[in-house]
Symmetry: D2
């Protein structure tokens, strides 16, 4: 992974970890259900943004390389599979 | 929140926290991008399942109560807003 | 369904039908793949907005009634099942 | 678009058009809200599957070509933008 992307991803994942602990605290303190769901949605969005960053890195690092090496089938198959996963939840 | 639901939600959120730390480790160890994205999607699914549990609790605890108290507008507005959030990411 | 909601839903579904025919034309005319995907995403958003309207109607018409009739289990089960479906794709 | 993909996409879009007309009929006939929402979700899934097909074609036809022509930035930017759109709704 590019160093700058790696740093960004690590920072975001640390923030996500903090948010998940925040969620646990909300549950412990019996916060209002709707607020818990809203906060959990925000964590999912943060993870989704991490995935965008990693995908962008994947495309520019690996896919370009794979295509130049003639491994096009593998490259395409993986992107499609990631695309399908991204649509769930 | 019902005690049994609260326990379930807490357990799941603890597991999610572990998964997020697992993701950080994958990034540190330069795992393959596609595997990181796949793992992050799995964490989002786990959070989404937590939201389903909390919503179910919300409906059976608060909404029923709100409807019986004549606070139907509030109840419906909140469900719709949660429904819209659930569709993002 | 409330008459005003019914009219809105019918108008939107007619527009969606036109958009789907527009998509067929784009494919026939060999438009750029990315533009076809973008247009198809827009149609899905339009359908999703229709579902929000119908859900809102459902909550205010049926759910309130079901709760008052003691059919809370049925009401909650259906909302949860719709909630799960809304998250796919 | 490859001829075989084009045929598949056209067939699916024709079926989607029929499904949208089916939805209109359900609304006209005052079918149960939950059934209308379920059917609309199915139409969105069908459109989403069409998008997967078109993306797969895009990757194997255009992206490979773009990479070989040095237009990597354009190729990656478009895939990321499609990826983000796919996650909405």
């Amino acid at each position: 992974m590019k160093i700058i992307t790696k740093k960004q991803v690590q920072n975001r994942l640390r923030r996500v970890e903090g948010q998940v602990r925040g969620l646990q605290k909300m549950v412990d303190e019996e916060k209002y259900c709707i607020d818990i769901i809203t906060q959990s949605s925000a964590v999912r969005s943060a993870l989704s943004a991490v995935e965008d960053l990693v995908l962008e890195n994947h495309l520019s690092e690996h896919v370009i390389h794979q295509v130049k090496q003639g491994q096009e089938k593998k490259a395409i198959g993986e992107i499609i599979s990631v695309f399908k996963k991204s649509k769930k939840k």
